[in-house]
């Protein structure tokens, strides 16, 4: 038998206060799609960063094709045939695709002109071969996320990688983009590439992977051939108990309208109309879900409701009062909380601690603030309670939020917002990047809020999430609400048609 393409032997890695990898062993055969799953903070990203040379392991050995390898940095890993597509993309946004491809290419004289034409040709060849459609001359920041990801994959291939690492590649993709992506993955495997895939979506594992490794608290707790396992077993291995993500109906009928949006029109920062005469209500004690392919106005709609974006036309009422022009703080005092879709951009101050981030927005409340100084004790008590309740790991209220894993960062935002006795919850992609245990918990909290009479507006790219939570589902397409379906009898195919602009 030939040696595995990748072998990790007894890998250890500690950060100042956390043991992120605690004796991890992993072997991946050539030409295999190997999934890596596990709770938030289990150490998956850390392990992959070690493999890619971004972190140095405290102990342990890496073997590529049976030969021991020592990576002092990503450059070494690239040379050994590894490539990584990161959780947060590593493309330089104002650069063109070609420029991004040329960056980091070695063995070229640094001050002679680059050959962009040849590089573009190379990109076209490669994108033809792997069905990765990307325009070489396009500027990255103008491209949809799915295409950006294709550019990243292309770059990795262009550098000659035969082992590809993907960290939560589908977290930012629309369902269509994800389907395309899996086709690409299959094609790569058929051409002999070895693929490591981190994901929280167990159905994806079942769909594309050959083998799967489950991690928990820095260790490997199980490895299976995908055909010998089930999502339920994987979930049990990950979380240590059974997980149920089914629908639970509300206890009481909905009450009076809390949020009322009338003929709303909103433009994006480039002055393009994104929301066109949208009207709907969210009543006390109901969850209204907004389904739609990303980029159909959901972002702007939510920002307008949250007070982060100017309203062009129409009105927004909360509890019957017009808040169209109100500032964010006023809306928050009326009981609005907002889980933003981009946790790093809108949700957290990465350089501040967990406790400080949990305080944000409540710093003026008399509980936390005296006349001049903040009150340290109550703040710490609140932070400890919330991180306990929302299971933020590690439980260290003084750690900078930058140093939490992606899923735990998400939990911090959710904890802050849901932890403040709201009247109206506006939640955008509330479970993006969190593990199934945490999804179950966040869903339970949203339902609990509903049952206590809170109005909930949920926007999610994950159709299953919308379907399992919502009492009513609105479908957005092209900046308009094109359909409304009761959540109880929503069907995926029917919603899918509406989301693509078809008639139901």
């Amino acid at each position: 038998m030939s040696s595995p393409a990748v072998e990790l032997l007894d890998i250890h890695k500690s950060f100042s206060r956390v043991k992120a990898n605690d004796g991890v062993n992993l072997a991946v055969a050539r030409g295999e799609i190997h999934a890596l799953v596990g709770e938030n903070g289990a150490g998956k990203s850390t392990l992959m960063k070690i493999l890619y040379g971004l972190y140095a392991p405290d102990r342990g050995e890496i073997r590529i094709d049976g030969k021991p390898a020592r990576f002092r940095g990503p450059a070494d890993a690239l040379r050994a045939g590894l490539g990584m597509v990161h959780q947060h993309f590593m493309l330089v946004r104002p650069f063109t695709v070609v420029e991004n491809m040329l960056l980091g290419r070695e063995g070229v004289p640094p001050v002679l002109p680059m050959d962009r034409v040849a590089a573009s040709r190379e990109i076209r060849d490669l994108s033809g071969r792997y069905a990765l459609d990307v325009e070489p001359g396009a500027v990255v920041e103008d491209l949809p996320v799915g295409v950006q990801q294709r550019a990243e994959i292309l770059r990795v291939l262009l550098h000659g990688a035969s082992i590809l690492i993907f960290d939560e590649p589908t977290a930012v993709l629309t369902p269509q983009e994800a389907t395309d992506f899996f086709r690409v993955l299959g094609g790569l495997r058929d051409q002999g590439k070895t693929i490591l895939l981190i994901t929280h979506k167990l159905d994806e594992v079942m769909q594309v992977a050959d083998r799967v490794t489950v991690m928990r608290a820095g260790r490997v707790v199980g490895e299976r051939a995908v055909r010998d396992t089930s999502p339920a077993e994987l979930a049990r291995l990950m979380v240590g108990r059974d997980v149920a993500l089914g629908r639970v109906e509300g206890e009481a009928p909905a009450g009076a309208p809390v949020l009322e949006v009338r003929s709303l029109g909103v433009r994006d920062s480039r002055r393009i109309a994104r929301v066109n005469s949208v009207s709907f209500q969210v009543r006390a004690g109901e969850i209204v879900g907004i389904a739609g392919v990303e980029g159909n106005g959901q972002t702007e709609l939510v920002e307008a409701i949250a007070g982060l974006r100017e309203v062009e036309a129409g009105t927004i009422h909360m509890d019957g009062r017009d808040v169209t022009g109100s500032r964010v703080a006023q809306r928050q005092r009326s009981g609005l909380v907002h889980v933003p879709e981009d946790r790093q951009r809108r949700g957290l101050v990465l350089e501040m601690s967990l406790a400080e981030n949990l305080l944000l927005g409540r710093q003026r409340e008399s509980e936390f603030s005296g006349r001049v100084l903040l009150r340290a004790e109550p703040i710490l008590r609140m932070a400890r309670r919330l991180s306990e309740e929302f299971d933020v790991r590690p439980r260290d209220v003084s750690l900078k939020t930058r140093d939490f894993s992606g899923g735990n960062q998400q939990k911090i935002v959710v904890a802050r917002e849901l932890g403040r006795a709201p009247r109206l919850i506006v939640a955008s992609q509330p479970t993006r990047g969190v593990d199934i245990g945490a999804i179950e918990f966040i869903h339970a909290r949203l339902r609990e809020a509903r049952d206590q009479g809170v109005a909930v507006l949920l926007v999610s790219a994950d159709l299953r999430e919308v379907m399992s939570l919502s009492d009513r589902i609105l479908v957005m397409y092209g900046g308009r609400v094109v359909g409304e379906v009761p959540g109880r009898d929503a069907r995926e195919d029917r919603l899918g048609t509406l989301m693509l602009g078809g008639a139901a």
């Binding site: 590593m90 650069f95 002109p113 680059m114």
Partner: protein, 299 residues
């Protein structure tokens, strides 16, 4: 009337051109460099002292570049290696440069205001072109020629070569550069050092053109150069445009002096123009996204 005006604009713009070009290389790589002011000062001083003792202005020029490199190296060590605040480092270096040159001026020449007269760089007298406005001026003066060549070369370097690509990547998204095996530290050092060497040419011009070093002779030019760089949206050609604009304003100011308008007002022209241009015309300029942010490689 127009030719002498243009000629004067060019000469006044030389230190701006070099400093703005230098600043561009530092900031594109992700390091704010307000130490340009201090670099102008130390390099001007080095040029004057060296020329005074060796009677060779070319050696003076070399010494200026060396001084510029050393001053920039200090900034690089503080900002890149120690990841300190780049503005604070820049201010500290400017204060240090002002104090040090004042002190050495006194020690070496026993004067608190200026050095004795030193030779300047030679003027070339080329047959045929000397009389042509602008071009003649450029071809006559080695440093003007260097500035005229340096701007397009800098532009080419930044936008057409792998080095330029890596430098800009380090200013926009250092994690990405790092993940592709580019050493952010090395590239940022290189950018800052280029900044020091190029800006020093402007410092040398100040001293050699005036044939002496005078205390505080940089006179805020480093800051104006920074403004020109911003007006030019961090590109060498754009920055050069900004420099010529400010050079023109200053020339105008000099020419208008002694007229009916009080000099105090006229002296404000270049600064007012800077503010108006920065605030109004350009809008929110596209700064390198990670300029000013130290890069912390995760360990």
């Amino acid at each position: 009337m127009i030719a002498p005006f243009l000629s004067q604009v060019l000469r006044i713009s030389v230190p701006y051109l070099f400093a703005a070009l230098g600043g561009t290389f530092s900031e594109r790589g992700g390091t704010i460099n307000i130490a340009l002011e201090g670099i102008l000062l130390t390099s001007a001083f080095a040029a004057a002292v060296t020329t005074y003792f060796t009677h060779d202005p070319w050696l003076g020029l070399a010494a200026a570049v060396l001084a510029g490199l050393l001053t920039a190296l200090l900034h690089a060590v503080i900002c890149v290696t120690f990841r300190a605040d780049q503005i604070v480092s820049g201010i500290a270096i400017n204060l240090l440069a002002a104090g040090l040159t004042k002190f050495l001026l006194k020690e070496i020449f026993g004067s608190s205001s200026n050095s004795p007269r030193v030779e300047g760089l030679p003027e070339w007298h080329l047959a045929g072109v000397g009389g042509i406005p602008v071009l003649g001026d450029i071809l006559r003066s080695p440093l003007l020629l260097l500035a005229a060549i340096g701007v397009p070369v800098g532009h080419f370097l930044l936008y057409r070569t792998p080095f330029g690509l890596r430098l800009r990547a380090c200013g926009e998204h250092p994690e990405a550069a790092d993940a592709l095996g580019v050493s952010v530290t090395r590239i940022r050092y290189t950018g800052i050092l280029i900044s020091g060497a190029v800006t020093a040419l402007g410092g040398a011009w100040l001293a050699l053109d005036q044939h002496s070093f005078t205390d505080g002779m940089s006179g805020g030019r480093g800051y104006i150069a920074l403004a020109a760089m911003i007006v030019g949206k961090w590109s060498p050609l754009g920055a050069a445009g900004g420099c010529l604009l400010f050079g023109a304003a200053e020339t105008l100011q000099i020419r208008l002096q002694g007229g009916a308008v009080p000099t105090q007002f006229i002296q404000m022209i270049p600064y007012l123009l800077t503010m108006v241009v920065l605030a109004g015309f350009i809008g929110r300029a596209a700064a390198p996204r990670m300029s000013g942010v130290p890069y912390r490689k995760e360990e």
